[in-house]
């Protein structure tokens, strides 16, 4: 059995109506609301076919049809129109970005909040610092004898602070010297590009400050590395989904939200093909039992061809994919632009 244009229209109608009403949709509804020019009986026949194809299903005998995961998939892949919301979304997001003259991460957070509100979903943002995290500036500050603060600015104006134990005898001048050396030699380089033995050579004449250099490098490396490893993840709008009828059961809600609090879960949800730009995972496609009733949309954004972060949207499988994809898309684009300007 193959898909003809009428079947497509009917499937689309089922998906759209279900997204809107959260109720199983019957043949009568479709023939009335979406004027396909055929009677409900005809639609019933077609629906039986669609069900056989696994695209829709009945919760029980005397109920209307509901899209299956495969149905959503088909809708997302072939039926969904994206452009209609684009303009509106773009304006909303761009405004949010421009409204604030802040650090990028703050803007991001604000945008995500807005996105969560508009879509009534939970949003996730993940800064994959490992890729773009080249050293821009490092400075060691003497806080008090024996204690220094290491300030690290990596590309993209991300700042890290870390306290450091140092020998009591170290002076401000020693620290300045070390800072300068490190800056001179490592500025603009990625961690991956360091080579321990070369560094050894460079710093070997800093005998007096040797201890601090070692320690600082150690930390620096761990910071830049760690940033990549367990990436920074922010979540917003976790409560939004509570308005959706599929989460009227408290236990379900609790489980879901608790899952989303675990970084590993989020990490897995957010992984996907970073090349294609946007990934849609529907229900069980997420591969996680905890969120099998949810869908996830992930967009990654790049700077200079490298993925530096991802933004994601988590909602019930019955979510408004068209709007969500559009908005995420626009979001990613806008962020890329914002980043570029910032360089």
């Amino acid at each position: 059995m193959e898909m003809d244009s009428r079947k497509q229209k009917i499937l689309e109608a089922v998906v759209l109506d279900y997204i809107e009403t959260a109720e199983p949709v019957g043949s009568r509804t479709i023939s009335k609301k979406y004027n396909l020019g055929v009677s409900s009986a005809t639609i019933r026949n077609e629906m039986a076919d669609l069900e056989e194809m696994g695209l829709i299903e009945q919760p029980h005998t005397s109920a209307g049809r509901v899209p299956s995961n495969a149905g959503y998939r088909y809708y997302v892949d072939y039926l969904m129109s994206q452009s209609d919301i684009q303009e509106e979304a773009k304006q909303l997001i761009q405004q949010a970005v421009k409204d604030k003259q802040q650090q990028v991460s703050d803007v991001l957070r604000d945008s995500m909040k807005m996105l969560a509100e508009v879509t009534n979903c939970t949003t996730v943002m993940m800064l994959d610092d490992s890729k773009g995290s080249t050293l821009q500036l490092l400075q060691l500050l003497l806080v008090e004898p024996g204690k220094a603060l290491m300030v690290i600015i990596t590309e993209g104006d991300k700042i890290e602070n870390r306290f450091l134990e140092i020998p009591e005898s170290m002076t401000k001048e020693d620290l300045d010297l070390v800072s300068m050396m490190i800056n001179q030699n490592l500025r603009g380089l990625k961690v991956d590009d360091w080579q321990r033995n070369i560094l050894e050579n460079i710093f070997q004449n800093l005998t007096r400050q040797r201890q601090v250099v070692d320690c600082a490098l150690e930390m620096l490396s761990s910071i830049l590395n760690v940033q990549g490893k367990d990436k920074k993840i922010y979540l917003d709008g976790g409560l939004n989904m509570l308005s959706q009828p599929e989460f009227k059961d408290v236990n379900k809600v609790k489980n879901l939200l608790q899952s989303l609090e675990q970084q590993e879960v989020l990490s897995q949800l957010m992984e996907g093909d970073t090349e294609t730009g946007i990934t849609v995972k529907i229900g069980s496609e997420t591969g996680l039992d905890e969120v099998k009733d949810c869908s996830v949309i992930v967009a990654s954004y790049k700077v200079k061809g490298e993925t530096v972060g991802k933004v994601g949207l988590i909602g019930p499988t019955r979510m408004d994919y068209a709007t969500a994809v559009s908005m995420l898309n626009t979001m990613a684009q806008t962020l890329e632009e914002a980043y570029q300007e910032n360089e």
Copy 2:
């Protein structure tokens, strides 16, 4: 009508049983479970009295009794025994604090998480930076021409970073000079102690760097001030309450959790008599309609006689006050000790 010892025992029984079971408790239950040596009929009479006094109430005619807010109040003020849990709590908390060799704020967060888990409540911690926020170290770093990073360390090792637009012509040396001057003159002082006109004098000979000084001072002041104004608040275990039967309704949950996401709400909940150490607000005593079914317990902890932070616990009015108060108490104490060691 006044309170005799038997009435107290009965009230206590009602409170304890209701805390345990979350079901209205009847006279029969009390006479059986808590052996007061009198029959259920007698208890019924007494309960009628207690109801008249406003300490307990009936959800409906044929149900058992439930403590009223006033009933809880009486229990907390006169009946509650606190010592029993103390030792256990102390060990749990102290272990949590000692487990980690981290910055104070991290330890705090961990302890709060643990507290939330044990009590099945939501915990809040509030760092009242305003009090202790004297300047410890300030340094301006030249990131690139026209752009500087201001690093500020305030007492208690709290770090703030802020980017700064500066004239393109400014050099690293200029910034160092400014940093040094600011440090020399403001180190160890609170914002309140600055006096604009005196500063004017001090810095008036820095004509070349004038613009940066102004800007930096402006920011510095705003940072130190703001830290005091809207205090840093961390929340943990927001989901814990979902296990409680009083929150089986999703809408209630949503409203509650959304309220708790608002800083103003939390701020108001956490305010109270900082002198007495611990404050218990029951139900409507919180003064907030959003949380009228909740109780809040707040403990403040002090360093050198000044309140530097508060830890709070939010749960349903039917919460285990005895345990909660004990644990919070211990928590506050342990934190004070930890702080003192840290100094």
